[in-house]
Symmetry: D2
Subunit: 360 residues, 4 copies
């Protein structure tokens, strides 16, 4: 790019990604029409119906799994609404969604729309110079992301030194937003971390150091030297989520993307068995993904395959082959407007975990 | 399936997956021909050349990243050969590859070829009954997998209770194989965990509880009750890998699949910066994947995009769009037969990590 | 499948695919929200806006390109509505969509929803026995499809023997539906072929023998022996479509899927040049597809790549990465409810082609 | 791109794509190793074995189907070798492979390797200015392509005016290469069109006007005005290919890519039935593709699905999920070095078609 045409950082970061609000438009007539079509439309309609069944099943705890760049893509408000309306009881996610993207926005920052021309990658050198990070067609101010890293260090520094589950640490992040969010960064948008804190919905990031919080924790541990320090015990995450399965045997999985969150959440059925409890398979399971089945990787593996592992029952399971920004608003919007959640108090699983022995 | 045709477990688990040996066939003439073609063939040849350059660059530490079901698919021996021939200095992997598949085979167990008819998933109920787990076209004996889970518990039970990096724990798994493998399970095949133990190649699984070891650790922690216990500190993994980057600034990434390992290994450049060290971007980076770029997820994101984050340099980077079982033997076979590794002592990074303060 | 559970043909063909009606639900608020998100949602919203611009541009002729199993999937009514509301001026399609699926339904037949279990393919032997054809999750009565083949033979038999463009032959199919449809097969649903006949929208199938009509034409030619016979001149198709481009230089492409229709419609810019006319590139171009870009095939090739060939301008072009049943109702529904078509008389290109010398 | 860095056409067209020679390297040991792995490697090895079985089955006629940009990608010599060694008896292809790419090279022209930076599409305006056409990572001189178009017009002009099957026209192209190739354009590389002409292997392009020949034929028809002219009868193609199936009932399909060629070749089983002949399904069928199954389109539809249509038998069928440049050399190289073709005279189907009544 010639210097004359070279845009400034301010110009590049001028159009903010806005989050879709599923409460506004009642998509049920559209989804119902899709239920009589074929291919992804029919699959999506069936997945939406299964999600509605999960919510109507008074014994079912709903576990939301998130992988991929979903929050930066404008889906944050969808998940916030699920939390605030008792439509989800636990979240298992990649760290990027929860920390780099959601907590980051909770601190008052935002994601920005990139022009089509940047997708191809040829101007990434320019972006590097301007300290702008790119996710396909989306920009992030790297300096703001550094503040997010630093904030996680501040949180770690204030905790008593011991192993924490990611769930415990993320609850502290929620408390931080509750206390500092508004004051320090002006009008704070709602966030999944804050909503989950307020609604007693536990959030697990099984690969927690693989995100902005990892940077903060590395800095914390480095700063402590030989002194006692905060550590993140991913086995404790697994233990806690397994306890939830044991105490609330009927469960459903609402999965967006695959990866670690999908595997981790599916595995708790087996984990319960290891602890000597004969927990049933996940009764409901739906997944939105574009991952291919043919490379044998977990992300695209069918939910039928998971049934061979004893993890997922096959009566109410549905894969939806779609990029998430298209399918999630329709699927979750359908369930929202169906309103089964209105009769649902929510499991308040954070409270239940407080009763689990703190040392696991 | 009618009962009459119903196969036995023994019949289903009769044809073992065998691991391809890249040392046998010199694929260089084939790959060189591919370098003058187009599309994936040319990309693969260029990636093979970049890997060869990494090995010829005496300052470059090579980090192998593994995601997807690679070991069960017959690629174990490839990675064992890379380790034993100083062609890789560190490994970052999903837990499934290292524990459920490689360590599992290290204990003397195996993976089995499934007939085409099982891919579709309609017989997964039968598999469930027989306690056979399925990965697309591959079978596993679930009872044997339980032994693998139990073995990780045995290892945890024998360790002094404190937070461990996954790298430290996996080294103990290597020591276990060294000591017990042959005796207890007959003729033990070589494994990545054992080879890495013997060759001082550290292995990191940033989401370590998301695998068979997670089951063992949950059982360990549960068994300990309120007593001190082993925990897995994923922040420590990140700290250790960052230290390697700081002490050996020139690095190259050899990535198979995306997911957490890709993100984690790319991130150490930023992590070093957080610790106040101006480390260079990864100088070389190649990735084999079938993930799509268009859903914005990290697994399929281009290496050019990573350059906007300051993580990967763009002179020697190459994405190869292929399922791993086809591309990896050609790419790694090419580099093996080129022989640049013969002049290469290997970084022995495990030794270097022993000098890092034990408490991080 | 055991005989006891073996379903009858009637049971399998009991739930008819129904076509989505974009006129019912105003999706504009939803699509507008998507325009501020990222990834496919934003791309879809931009594509919808470009389609609206095509319709508002009074000089623009809109060419709809169809590939993939779209009509059997429940999208027929969308395209019928585009035709009847002057939202499209010509159609280029695979034969399967126009003959096997649309004309077939025009004869009074239908497509049926298959249960999830049939997708995997393990019961295809049963389907073969029952003379049921399968398209992924959709069933067709093969006996009814034979009637469709026969009907195209009847039409061919009644024509004077000479080379026809597929466009001319399909017009005869429209005339047939107009005359016989209702009488012979009961209540006839609307169809693209009929609507296009009535609205003077030409339909081109450049690979016309590659469908049910091919069977009819082979039977016709076989029956004629050495006598003069009807033939299908695909060069004449190309000539006619090029004439449209020459007489109406401003054009936009609305493409669903890739394949021959995409290539054929893009090529008319070059074809005009070959005839000595300096026609402008297609001014607008949008494509919905899941085809990958990385295999170099035309179906997934970017519209930017087409600009290197001088076929498509790059100001108003957009690829949307989505399976068609999800994206098409939103994209076309948006344009329908915007209503730019209300000011648009439609090009009535069939009339214009009647002025082209009959012998090309 | 700033003017200073702007490359010349000559610089951009300097590195020619070279065609891989499967005769050079015996890939059988590699493919045999792959047969015991999983996923695409095992599928590829099985497909290679099925191709070998086709060749060893003395009654089997082998039909090669080509879609995607295969010749420009460096696979031309593979298919030339299949033709010259009696490893294929008929070809069904997209026009682009046969005319724009193979015949084009037969005239002495070539394809060129593009640097990585051009893939992203941001320099397509420059390419447009320089009259360079791009296929992903490959360049073509547009002026040379115009000569190819013109040559097809010259051929059409010299033929007696009547409807031709594409097969008949392509044979004339072979004759043209035989006569003029060397003299007019210097040293002519071998080509599929020439080899097929010399070896009596018929080539069908069911959408023949959808390529460079379409331009030539449009110019021809335009030049003839009201005079009799050459036309291309795609129904005649279908009739001819069906006759081959009738006269040689045992057939196998070797498919690279999907699209019209796949559908067309599969359909001849049904077409024979329409003509009153009870022809068996294709006994063997293998396909290399990256197309997804989940959009219901034909390109990615499984061969099991084709069995529900009565087109393909399911005992010896195999899909291979891979980009063609990686899988085709291994699959065809395996069959070449197995040598079953040495006992095989080849069907010489062009001669058989000469016995079909000329008027169909």
């Amino acid at each position: 790019m010639s210097d004359a045409k070279r845009p400034t950082k301010q110009e590049l970061l001028s159009r903010r990604v806005e989050h879709i609000d599923i409460k506004r438009d009642d998509v049920r007539p559209l989804v119902r029409q899709m239920s009589r079509m074929a291919f992804s439309a029919r699959d999506l309609a069936r997945a939406a119906d299964i999600y509605d069944r999960m919510l109507a099943d008074r014994e079912c705890g709903v576990i939301l799994c998130l992988a991929g760049s979903l929050i930066s893509a404008g889906l944050k408000q969808v998940f916030v609404d699920l939390v605030r309306n008792n439509m989800v009881d636990a979240i298992v996610s990649t760290g990027a969604n929860i920390v780099d993207q959601d907590f980051f926005e909770g601190l008052g920052y935002g994601h920005y729309m990139a022009d089509e021309r940047y997708k191809g990658g040829l101007d990434d050198d320019l972006l590097r110079d301007l300290r702008i990070d790119r996710i396909y067609d989306t920009f992030i101010d790297e300096d703001e992301l550094r503040v997010c890293d630093d904030t996680t260090k501040i949180i770690a520094d204030e905790l008593s030194p011991r192993p924490y589950s990611s769930r415990e640490f993320i609850r502290e992040m929620g408390a931080y937003l509750k206390q500092h969010g508004l004051k320090e960064h002006g009008k704070t948008p709602d966030s999944i971390v804050l909503a989950a804190y307020e609604c007693d919905v536990p959030i697990f990031c099984p690969a927690f150091s693989d995100c902005s919080a990892g940077f903060g924790l590395v800095a914390h541990q480095h700063g402590r030297g030989d002194q006692p320090k905060v550590s993140i015990d991913s086995a404790k995450d697994f233990y806690e989520l397994t306890q939830l399965k044991i105490k609330n045997p009927t469960t459903g999985l609402l999965m967006v993307g695959g990866g670690v969150p999908k595997n981790f959440a599916q595995d708790i059925v087996v984990s319960a068995e290891i602890l000597g409890v004969d927990a049933p398979m996940h009764k409901y399971a739906i997944q939105v993904t574009v991952a291919d089945t043919r490379d044998g990787a977990l992300s695209g593996s069918t939910l039928k395959e998971a049934s061979s592992w004893g993890k997922v029952d096959t009566v109410f399971e549905q894969m939806v082959y779609s990029e998430a920004t298209l399918a999630v608003p329709l699927m979750c919007g359908y369930a929202y407007h169906q309103g089964a959640w209105k009769q649902r108090p929510g499991m308040k699983w954070t409270k239940l975990l407080d009763e689990v022995p703190a040392s696991a």
